[in-house]
Symmetry: C3
């Protein structure tokens, strides 16, 4: 499968990871701000939100070096972004609301799921595991963020479809890979379906079945 | 040691992991139900309870692919089990009690400890590390479950012997391996001693020394 | 770089890890005592506090076997230390205070940071990643301890410089390595700067910029 190493595919992958990384880092900054963490805590939570899902995926798949080791400019970027966001929020007395997190979060979820499915497929994982790695990449940055902040993980308890959107997008990605010769349309389908479903779920107020004991 | 690759030993190992996996997954479903997680949270917590200990062990021992990657039918099984348990519990207005968790939990603890000791020994770990890997396999699924549910880990704080039973069973396993040529009686001894001690501890209300400051 | 394998450097490294390990294990014992964990919980939290940071570093750098697998006498040591500390604290009705944790913690932070930078440099990591691995080695034992104890990680939220001291010490270490032919003065500089800054920060009541939204 020679397209895997084609330079522009590698470039597309990096572009996807940049956009998603910034989105998740900001969600981490906002959560840390709400918990009144100090500057170190804000930077660490931003880093874990941004790279936690991908790093867990690479640990599970035994892929090294990690994305952020190969591209240390990303780590510098997250540090600067966190400090800039802190300064900006303090000056504007900007109260980070949950609503402000929703859009970057939905796009980041789709982008990360696509990257995760892509990498897991490239190392020969079966379809279900590839989809799980996509979901893990998208969701576990936020889960680790919530665990570090001593919160119940939002992804498991707010009854709004989140991981499920990435699950659907991941299966679309895997299915399209069977019929397509190229990797571009599966990637795009995964991003669009995941982010679209997430947007639709928020807009229409879809709820996962509540647990009534 | 040619028995390690004998097909029926491999079969015994898989049978042990199936039984223990179901037991722990159910404990995860019940905990997630008590925390009122949504369907995604229930499935993830069931998965982490069932595979968390073994996955952490394999990460620490650098063993891959993981059990659930080699046998994806297990992941499907956990998904179906979680959904079935949710439906059943909702229909019967079944309140999952702590008591209902105790029996499958004790058996799962013994089974997982045996598997963990076995795998660590097979890759040449020293006795203490093999026992620790047995305890990790048995206990850390539950610890990760509690961390994800934002609870103080039960295994560390309820003052009832739990990890200690697996510790005793693990040492029996390791000791028997020194004198026996086969691997079956050590495995069985580990399961029986661990589960037996746990049952005895619950029945006689044994308590670990309380901490009085 | 032949000094990396010189026997006395290896000895210095082990001596550093012994001292730091004891310091962090005691911080774990004290935290577990405050949470009223049982004997198993105290031992596990002591173990995670002592080896968590280094184990996470080795997982991320894919270095195995772990320190505590190569030197199982350390695991025995932690077990005995935990039990001894419990007995001593119970007999003396010793209330573990936060103040009593500060000195061993500061020294342990410096020692672990030096070890982390050293190992990451030895496997060819870039400067920023080496510093991050130093910080991780020093700080994440405590973070994992707090996560297991269901507490907000102190390192992120108490507004007193902690990880930042290790960050400064780590950069001093990396910078000195560029100009020095030996590894001793960078290691010493890292320990002294980290522990010194931490001590100074506590003595002068330095505070990280508070987050005011």
């Amino acid at each position: 499968m020679k397209w895997i190493d084609a330079p522009w595919i590698e470039l597309l992958r990096i572009a996807l990871e940049v956009a998603a990384t910034v989105a998740f880092a900001l969600s981490g900054v906002m959560m840390a701000a709400r918990k009144r963490f100090d500057a170190v805590g804000v930077c660490v939570v931003a880093f874990v939100s941004a790279f936690g899902g991908g790093t867990l995926r690479d640990l599970l798949l035994d892929q090294r070096p990690f994305f952020w080791v190969r591209h240390t400019e990303f780590v510098w970027g997250i540090l600067l972004l966190s400090l800039a966001a802190m300064l900006f929020m303090r000056q504007r007395h900007f109260q980070p609301t949950e609503r402000a997190m929703l859009l970057p979060d939905a796009i980041g979820l789709g982008l990360f799921a696509a990257v995760g499915v892509d990498i897991a497929t490239a190392v020969g994982m079966p379809a279900l595991i590839a989809v799980m790695m996509g979901v893990t990449t998208g969701v576990f940055g936020g889960v680790l963020r919530d665990v570090l902040c001593n919160e119940v993980p939002q992804a498991f308890s707010d009854h709004r479809p989140y991981a499920l959107c990435a699950f659907a997008g991941g299966w679309a990605d895997v299915a399209l890979r069977q019929v397509e010769g190229t990797v571009v349309s599966p990637l795009l389908a995964c991003v669009l379906i995941t982010a679209g479903l997430r947007g639709l779920a928020l807009w229409r107020n879809w709820e996962l079945p509540a647990w009534r004991v």
